[in-house]
Symmetry: C2
Subunit: 325 residues, 2 copies
């Protein structure tokens, strides 16, 4: 399959690397809205201006769109789905139905297939919520995120006056995790599920008390959480907090049998040293399915829920049945 990347940030770089790991995939180009000559890809993949994408209509099987969910993808995915089969990682949960509708319309108009919201959440976590809920209808599921870096929360801290740099970790509360695993099916508040750890580099002479207070009282981002703020030097931030790890847990406990007396726990967890590289690996696996399904004549928008798992594997069907079933 011939893959191309649209957008070359952390996620695009991850896709570039994930395509190298897929024996059946070839990377035909990287498209950027920046000056193409300014990009230094890790491989010898040619770089083109995003304006040239229309000239590649017959040269790309699946275009992986690596833009941000806030402003890029709501425009990019519908417009590109008219010209290519595409995969994106749109992750603004509340906006997914609208995004789906717009992409579906565009993809049908162009006669292409478009998979939206792939990655790990939405993505693999969503799949695990669906599988578990379908198997154990009498139950309750919980999603915990972390320990991992939240880019959005780190950015929010950096916007505070006097902050030079910052890194925020989302951390599941161990007691909540244990209670869920034990099948206690607790009702958990926002504060009881996660805490937030902030590592902040202040500008010289900045008012640390005010900064800490502004962080801890910031609505939506921090006010509803137990938040710790630790001031460190830029050197320490660069040394100890340069990675983008993430992960989390999807746990469903439920009951079966006469009078629902029998208890079961289903748990799926991820521990990722790099959030964008793992997300990119998921995108490439789902690009494989999109390539196959488009080849079978399917058009319109799809989600991870619509993909038969067999289509994700590069291995022949007989081998998958023989060795993985």
């Amino acid at each position: 399959m011939r893959i191309a990347i649209y957008g070359y940030g952390n996620l695009g770089k991850g896709v570039e690397s994930a395509v190298q790991a897929a024996d059946d995939a070839e990377l035909v180009g990287i498209f950027t809205r920046r000056d193409p000559s300014a990009l230094r890809p890790a491989t010898d993949t040619p770089v083109y201006s995003a304006n040239e994408i229309e000239n590649f209509k017959d040269k790309i099987d699946v275009l992986i769109i690596c833009g941000g969910s806030a402003t890029d993808l709501p425009k990019m995915t519908p417009s590109l789905a008219e010209m290519f089969s595409v995969v994106d990682s749109f992750d603004t949960h509340a906006e997914i139905p609208n995004h789906y509708r717009r992409v579906d319309e565009a993809a049908r108009k162009g006669g292409y297939l478009a998979l939206i919201s792939a990655g790990w959440d939405p993505g693999m976590f969503s799949l695990n919520r669906l599988y578990a809920a379908s198997i154990l209808p009498n139950g309750k599921d919980y999603t915990f995120w972390g320990r991992g870096v939240s880019q959005g929360h780190s950015d929010a801290i950096r916007r505070i006056e006097g902050v030079a740099d910052a890194r925020q970790y989302t951390v599941p509360v161990p007691e909540a995790l244990e209670s869920v695993r034990n099948g206690e099916m607790p009702e958990l508040t926002t504060r009881e599920k996660h805490r937030r750890e902030c590592f902040v580099v202040a500008e010289e002479g900045a008012d640390l008390v005010r900064i800490e207070n502004e962080i801890k009282t910031m609505p939506n981002y921090f006010a509803d959480y137990d938040t710790t703020v630790t001031f460190i030097t830029q050197e320490e931030l660069d040394r100890e907090h340069k990675g983008i790890p993430h992960g989390g847990f999807v746990i469903r406990t439920g009951t079966t049998g006469p009078e629902n007396r029998t208890r079961h726990t289903i748990e799926y967890s991820l521990k990722l040293d790099s959030n964008p590289e793992f997300t990119a690996s998921v995108l490439v696996a789902f690009a494989r399915a999109v390539c196959r399904m488009a080849g079978r004549g399917e058009t319109g928008a799809r989600t991870v829920f619509d993909i038969a798992p067999i289509d994700l594997s590069p291995l022949p069907r007989e081998e998958v049945i023989k060795h993985m079933l």
Copy 2:
């Protein structure tokens, strides 16, 4: 959907209960090779002789076949797949390709759809092996079973002279689990992955030393494992070991990024108070997908790999996208 059960052992009883928990399913009958009047179902579902099944061709959407993999399913599933869309839990891993072939031929002949080898392993564990391997091609996966009761191993002990009753637990070795989780990708022998705990009730006057020795040296079943044998009374066995718990772990660790320096861990685990009740719950969810796919005109054999997850859910597609993605 109209479901029927073929075979009323522990698994059949679990299906009976799981159908009650599914709002969109109706249980139209239980079919048995025993005398129907001898069965006492937990619900007021009518019981019929297995010989009558042909008369129900237009009254059942999906028949869930609850027989054993050793001798029942290899005959039952192909013969019933000529008359009904079916689901089974065939779990003799080495024989799955042959079983698939036979069932596929029968189902195509009759124009029905047949899902084989659903449950948790094969089943949910297989799905997790496939998803994880497709996402992280540079990696290695491990399956651990337990702590849980192995019926086959318990039976093997009961066949030893002087043994009145027995219960065998398969237990993952904690050090092996930890090494895998840490991404060490160890090469593990059979002995290093699991140990076996046996609780044995001896007949009066039996030679305990000989029984223990016969268990520990039994080829295939115990000789390759660290095995402990504990003699207990029938009362203790009935009191402390009457359940059929099981579970286990599918863990894949792999690397991504430049020079494969970034590490990730994907883990799926089950903790089941009742192996047959959970397996039954999986069968009912997949029966839903079979019902829908057969309604779309699909015929032949399928595995869990072929099922788009959306088809497992009783909820409307829009609601699943809105609330679970």
